[in-house]
Symmetry: C2
Subunit: 264 residues, 2 copies
Amino acid sequence: MEGKTEKFPVIRIREEAREEKEDLVIRESPLTIFLNGQELVTLLCTPENLKNLAAGFLYNEGILQSKEEIEKIVLDEEKGIIWIEIKGNKDFVKRLMFKRLITSGCGKGATFYNAADKISSRKVVSKITVSSREILSLMKNMQQQSQLYRVTGGVHSAALCDNTDILIFSEDIGRHNAIDKIFGKCLLEGIQTDGRMIVTSGRVSSEILLKMAKRGIPVIISRSAPSNLAVNLARELGITLVGFARGRRINIYANDWRVSDKET
Amino acid sequence: MEGKTEKFPVIRIREEAREEKEDLVIRESPLTIFLNGQELVTLLCTPENLKNLAAGFLYNEGILQSKEEIEKIVLDEEKGIIWIEIKGNKDFVKRLMFKRLITSGCGKGATFYNAADKISSRKVVSKITVSSREILSLMKNMQQQSQLYRVTGGVHSAALCDNTDILIFSEDIGRHNAIDKIFGKCLLEGIQTDGRMIVTSGRVSSEILLKMAKRGIPVIISRSAPSNLAVNLARELGITLVGFARGRRINIYANDWRVSDKET
């Protein structure tokens, strides 16, 4: 918990009885990314796995394609600054980012699903299948790992999984950050994402769905609701989209053929 | 519901029994804002009250200060485009926006709380008080009004309230949009925000808290968790921050003196 929460005195009123107690609140810290010496973006995030977050952000935004392009990553945790040097034409990156920023839903969690995204989002062809039992068991495991959620109620969690196990677990104040941290770790440590599944506590919007397509994830499982744009994209891109995975029930919104009723 | 949801065939598996049914999914639509002829930003949102959303976005981002600055708003709902003409130096607006975008947490719901925000966020001095009963009753009323949530599970709701009533109710796929729609309506229709309260289903991050400060809102009530940055800002800016308002319980994180145990 240390570093990821802050303790506050809180007044709790229950049935009109007032008591003073202490409460752990999730920490929200700015992380400013400098790309090749230029200030690029400031993310508000839970201060943990910040190299993964920055790498995952650049990877998912299409600025970074492979680990080999990274020349240096220097993190100043105290100041909340990370410097990343990457190979390639810096002007191109600048122009790209400027264009994305201007045409994107900045500050409101809303990158617009544009032509470029669509082109770079290939159809996912994996033949893996998963049972509803396995889906619910993965969701349960993820929730059990989310200590920060139990203590603060203020984070989203996400996990990269195979049929039986959680391979990478991640939590963050932002549902996008939690997923970016996973893919950043995969990029930096050479962990395969193709053909693996993502489990998330958060809603599945079009942007989340497109991240799955870019990383070759054939199955996304959420505790929450999808949007219609996410459902339509999942159908188009061959991704199995499972929502409302709670208790003993799931809803399959797209490509239900991957959910078999038999154990795999 | 019409226009705000899309119907899909869904496979529901419960206790390993598979059934096909229809499900209403929340609609996520792009809205591109053109400011004085220039493409500014694309928000992904629930397609309802789009003029309020666009006006509220510009208002909360500090680009627009009053209704009088607006010369024209033209909405093409079908294309998802809104054109807004405002008075004043356009180059200044462009520079301001560019700077904000570059230094802000774009696409990830993360505008960085910077010096400029802090300066424009005056301390809220309202002397209003509210009882815990009133708080819980307002939260309950808001949830009862949220038809879209009950049907789709995929939206956030927000409301501008006085001690006893909901004055403006709003829902959207994004928690920021839901709040921007409220303040946009206030701007366009000359509705006072000073000294009134906001109730929200969403988590209270620093950005949400700063929106309260800018609009002179002395009390924010959330069903969910706050972040440490939001708690610290609320204390500094004189805002009463109530979290986890559920059932018969509330937590007060800042300025608890406004929550009286007596009815007002």
